[in-house]
């Protein structure tokens, strides 16, 4: 006879197995980050011998050293500069275009929009080769502006697509009311459309911010000048030096990963929304 107690204990057992599985994966997700922070608090002398998870002496001065002597302070500021200017650029430029694609009629509208969508779908794995040539010709290689413009272009298509889809679904009553009150097109875009688009703009901001902060290959081909390099590029260079200072490298990695993790925790809702909506449109 199978009793209620049997089913209850079976259910508990199944749940237990599931939780053990989930917790095991959780640990493998978090542990490398924990080890990174732990290693960043050791010294070059102890890091190769001391395998303790929590070092006996915590050398927080590694962060000061990485920030100042390792140059990560400058790289960090470079990354902040690139991320904020690219995201600001994308928000303004893509929302202007998406609004026009959604609301206005003008010759060439459909073909232009189609080109943006096609760019989103067509992968060109070697696109950094002609980009390098182009930037050389324009004297934009080894400049912050060159990198920023390239990265704005990278984020443009998807952002326009997301925003246009949103504007298409947005009722026009508010905009009509503003027009009757004598508001100009630009005024309606800025005062009416953009504030209404806040939820999508959040998705656009988060995704582009992560993308720029984590970008490596364009930074690799554009920058030879150390003073202009963002964090990702600097980390690989730092690791490639003849004698890697591992505690400083780990401190650099922590400095690079921390802002992303903080932003992720704060904006997780928008990231889930972006992944699931972005993935399902095909």
């Amino acid at each position: 006879m199978r009793t209620i107690a049997y089913y209850k204990s079976k259910k508990i057992a199944v749940n237990l197995i599931i939780h053990i599985f989930l917790i095991a994966v959780t640990i493998t997700c978090l542990f490398p980050l924990f080890w990174m922070v732990s290693s960043s608090l050791k010294t070059q002398g102890t890091i190769f011998k001391d395998m303790s998870l929590i070092p006996k002496e915590l050398h927080f001065e590694n962060y000061v050293l990485a920030w100042k002597e390792g140059g990560f302070g400058r790289y960090f500021l470079n990354s902040i500069l690139y991320t904020t200017s690219v995201v600001a650029g994308i928000i303004i430029i893509s929302s202007l275009a998406a609004y026009a694609f959604s609301r206005f009629k003008f010759p060439g509208r459909n073909i232009l929009f189609f080109m943006f969508i096609a760019a989103m779908m067509i992968p060109i794995p070697g696109s950094f080769v002609p980009l390098y040539v182009l930037l050389n010709k324009l004297h934009l290689r080894n400049t912050a502006l060159g990198y920023i413009l390239c990265m704005v272009n990278v984020g443009l298509s998807t952002s326009i697509f997301l925003l246009k889809t949103f504007f298409d679904k947005l009722p026009r009553e508010l905009e009509d009311a503003a027009r009757i009150d004598g508001c100009s097109k630009i005024g309606i875009w800025w005062h009416v459309a953009l504030p209404l688009a806040k939820p999508v703009l959040a998705v656009v901001v988060v995704f582009n911010a992560l993308n720029v902060w984590n970008e490596y290959v364009l930074a690799l081909i554009i920058f030879d000048n150390k003073n202009l390099m963002p964090l990702q590029r600097a980390l690989v260079m730092f690791q490639g030096e003849f004698l890697t200072n591992y505690p400083l490298l780990m401190a650099g990695l922590t400095i690079t990963a921390l802002p992303i993790i903080i932003i992720y925790f704060m904006m997780q809702k928008y990231i889930v929304k972006g992944v699931t909506s972005g993935a399902l449109f095909g």
Binding site: M51, A119, V275
Partner: protein, 292 residues
Amino acid sequence: MRIKNTLENYLFVSPAAIIFIIFYVIPFIWVFQLGLYEWDGILPTRSFVGLGNFKEIFFEDKVWWQAMRNAGWITVIALTFQNALAFLLAWACDRQIKAKNFYRLIFFIPPVLSEVVVGLVWQWILDGNYGLLNHWLTNAGFASLARNWLSDPATALNTVAIVHSWKGFGWGFLIFLAGLQTIPRELYEAARVDGANAWDSFRRITIPLMIPVAVLVSILTILGSMQAFILIIAMTDGGPAYHTQVPVLRILASMRGSSRFGYACAQGISFGLILMAVSFIQYRFSRKARDT
């Protein structure tokens, strides 16, 4: 008035259009143009070689095809191991509503980190001499298993593939979970009333309804894994001896290493066409999935 109106409309799209034409359309055209030349990227003269670069890629460049095979193998691991893990986790979370948000928060941490950070941290853990993994293996009495994970030709590619899967499973997990949550609970209720056990309803309800989602995840996985290379730069830089070379790394090497810009573009085109075929299949499948 009408003309002014149209001009005003163009003003809205012109910043986007100008950046797009300069930084996307022009390089796009140049890829195809340069692919037909032999050029070192510096000299003003370049010599036209027609399809010579492509001939070399397809018939002579053994390393390129080794790189293709390596990327293919990483993709196979990602398709099987990574996506099976992603699906199992999503399925487990779909049942366990309580802590679902917590797990969802954690499992997407690796995808938001940069490939450089992930690659360098794992490289440190897997280091042959001072790595934590070997230390643990030795302490646990498995000293014979300890090895130079990333510089041993026997393990380098698989190790890179596993780290790649570690970084990527969160994507599949999120998409699978979103898909599972669209399945109406009433279906499971009805099946249970009809006497189906958990395995029956998994096989007869969950699997069939998840096939379109699985197709989507698979294709995103293929596109992502074939083009993965930054993680590899951070972990092995293609070594030992081409064992972890992948196509995009080869393109980069043609350009920066051997200064053959034309050849790099030709490699990009060849590779891009293969990926386009996959993109096209994705488009067809997702259309089909949406229509039905």
